[in-house]
């Protein structure tokens, strides 16, 4: 029988895993924030970058924004299902979130393919260096998030470690949050 209790009460009143994830996300803010701050500094120095930004594939960026926002919805619904003890539904929703990650990477792959085929690489100029750095770093985080989601979904399908659904979801929402800022920075600010 499944019961929903806090098995390890902590001095903070929150599960340790959740506190740890918040600390981890704070460090991630510093990583992405530092990279974005560098981009902004150079963007203000080089107003001509707007021409390069106009060449990014905004349709692909828009599709990926819809995909990530929708996958975030699935992640929070999975958390909601896990809190109600509906472990199979939670697992299904986590796999749907994972599918969102697959779709995101496919669109990103098509985008990279078109750009590289057009002769644009990270070595082209500083704008494209930042573009590939920021989107590549983000895509790496998507892959890490998908791995976590798959591991948690496997356990959730068997009713194990349902508390981890929320933790994996927090990370996934953060990946979504980063994209919310990258999309206008790289695609819409032309």
């Amino acid at each position: 029988m499944t019961t929903h209790t806090l098995t390890h009460p902590t001095s903070t009143g929150l599960p340790t895993a959740r506190v740890a994830m918040w600390w981890f996300l704070a460090s991630e803010i510093a990583i992405f924030g530092g990279a974005v701050a560098c981009y902004l500094l150079f963007r203000f120095r080089h107003p001509g970058w707007a021409e390069h930004a106009a060449k990014t594939m905004s349709v692909a960026g828009t599709i990926n924004t819809v995909v990530l926002l929708t996958s975030s919805l699935f992640a929070v619904l999975a958390h909601s299902a896990a809190e109600r003890g509906e472990h199979r539904r939670a697992a299904r929703l986590l796999w749907l979130t994972f599918l969102g990650g697959v779709l995101f990477l496919c669109v990103k792959g098509v985008e990279y393919h078109h750009e590289i085929a057009a002769g644009v690489t990270p070595a082209t100029n500083l704008f494209w260096s930042f573009y590939f750095l920021l989107t590549g770093l983000h895509a790496l985080h998507v892959v890490v998030g998908m791995t976590a989601l798959a591991l948690v979904a496997r356990g959730a399908a068997r009713g194990l470690h349902l508390g981890r659904v929320e933790i994996a979801g927090l990370y996934w929402h953060f990946v979504d949050l980063v994209w919310i800022f990258l999309f206008p920075l790289l695609y819409l600010s032309a």
Partner: protein
């Protein structure tokens, strides 16, 4: 079998609440695309980034339940934001305006 679920969690909104939040996020995306397509200039950029901040607040507050967490959790995250802000302010004069650059 015991699961590591936090019964003390103050957040237990319905699934409908999450779907409505998602609809708001989609609408905000639509508005920012529309603004980007129709107009140009600094005001447009400010509006687009304002909408991005609003979307981020929706995701953090409603999907990540940050609004229901104790304030010290917010302080942890603000620590990261402040570190980035300090870095930006410290480096901006050199990078953007070229202060301290030695002439060749």
């Amino acid at each position: 079998m015991h699961q590591e679920i936090d019964q003390q969690a103050p957040h237990a909104p319905s699934d409908r609440h999450y779907v409505i939040t998602w609809a708001w996020l989609m609408s905000a995306l639509g508005v920012s695309l529309l603004i980007g397509a129709l107009a140009g200039g600094a005001v447009t950029v400010a509006l687009i980034f304002g909408i991005a901040v609003a979307k981020a607040a929706l995701v953090a507050g409603r999907f990540m339940h940050l609004s229901a967490e104790p304030r010290w959790v917010l302080a942890i995250l603000l620590g990261g934001v402040l570190a980035v802000g300090a870095f930006y302010i410290g480096v901006a004069p050199d990078v953007v305006w070229g202060f301290g650059r030695v002439a060749p």
